[in-house]
Amino acid sequence: MALNGGLDAIYTELIMENSRNPANRRELPQSRGLCTERGHNPSCGDDITLQIDIESGRIKDMAFSGFGCAISQASTNIMIDLLRGKTVGEAKTLCETFINMIKRESVDEDALIELEDACAFKNISNMPARVKCATLAWHTLSKALNEKYGL
């Protein structure tokens, strides 16, 4: 990589803010619709646990715990902000859009707009070694929704 080239496209203000003070790093109160899902990257050790509170097919709230690099922490925090209040189906679609964006599979512009702040991770696709960090939370949530709703 060029000297610092691309670095400020990755460690953006938005990503740094979300990794340093992730508001969604907290514990949800116990409730009937609460499920948890752990996701980790054995190769790099990022390890997060999502708490997902679902009520009548809608994500009422989400939170996370665990540890990882700035990119995985920020990505998790931003994902939670984006998906809070969305239906399970919408959440699943957004997860797919995000993962496709990072994997550089074709995603149309309209779908990207739906990702809002999560678009900030687009440039991670230039850094294969960090792709897993950015997608961890999204894969973890997809897995939880698959298990619970067969989506």
Binding site: M1, L3, N4, L7, A70
Partner: protein, 408 residues
Amino acid sequence: MQNPFADKIKDFPILAGQTDGKPFVYFDNAATTQKPRQVIEALTDYYETSNANPHRGVYALSEKATEIYESARAKTASFINAAKPEEIIFTRNSSEALNLISYSYGLENLQAGDEIVVTILEHHSNLLPWQMAARKTGAVLKYIYLNPDGSLNMDQASEIITSRTKIVAATQASNALGTLVDVRELAELAHKNGAAAVIDGSQSVPHMKVNVQDLGCDFMAFSGHKMFSSMGFGALYGKLALLERMPPFLSGGDMIEYVEEQSATFAPVPEKFEAGTQNVEGAAALSAAIDYINSLGIENIDRYERELCLYALEKMRGLDFVELYGPENRAPIISFNIKGVHPHDAATILDSYGICVRSGHHCAQPLMKYLGVNFTNRASFAFYNTPDEVDYFIDSLKSVRKWLGYGS
């Protein structure tokens, strides 16, 4: 301080090739070293002038390939002062060599209730084979832990190694912390109790004079690619009397004496352990690498690398945001963390400054857990690294903090 090998850096095309004005600092030598032109030429030369199946043809070219292969064995034996060339078995790497020992020696000699003693420093390659052997035989795996400074607790070693111990498997130098282990003492403890001593030389053989007879170990494993040679080629040293009693690890072509429909007898050591067409280009490269190291002098390399490592340690101790791991007496390896910065982020940012360092658990997860750290960054040196590179690295560490929004 100066690099006495400064005029050798040009031997390494990958180091000399990065001349587009951008810095290029390779500090991941514990993972694999770069290769000098002499080694790269040995590889191409083998294919251009000597390629044939060794041990199989009676024609001159096959004999030439055989000669290259067998002279590499003799050279490797003398490099670590093995008593005989046959005590060197060529493998793909350390990992394969250690698996060979665990299968052909471990499974044969362990019984339920026996004990295998390892250190908490072990790379997964000198750990998983012993977990496997323990699982299959009912043997128990025991650990020697560390002193607070990261050195091996030798008092504990002498308590844990007992008459129940059948195998002591230890690294001579930790790839994660750099810790140097007194493996001569461990081998002595093992032998006093009737156990075999298996030494992982992956991080020691490339960096210091290793004399297997003086250490008294029964087996030693190392990889060519960590000592300027090609990937996919390594060696197992074993005492001949032990190797002769061990069954083959892999079987097939080249390792037999007679084959009947229902049975076979095997070739003598070392062929018994080298099934199938071997990696002759790897042997040619390892020969060239050993010649190269000998031309510099392994003791000279050792002296300079230690000096450079201490120089870096000293400078890093001056940075209050850097946490350091590992003892004073170490191989040229520095494990560290930057406060508040995940090692992956640090490594990505250092990469943007042209500096290659490792980040992660360094294939030593039990060690990381024991130390209570998830991951570290690791800078590891070779003789071609310079004090200037260290200075640049130190400056870049300061920038890492800035990128992540810390004051300095």
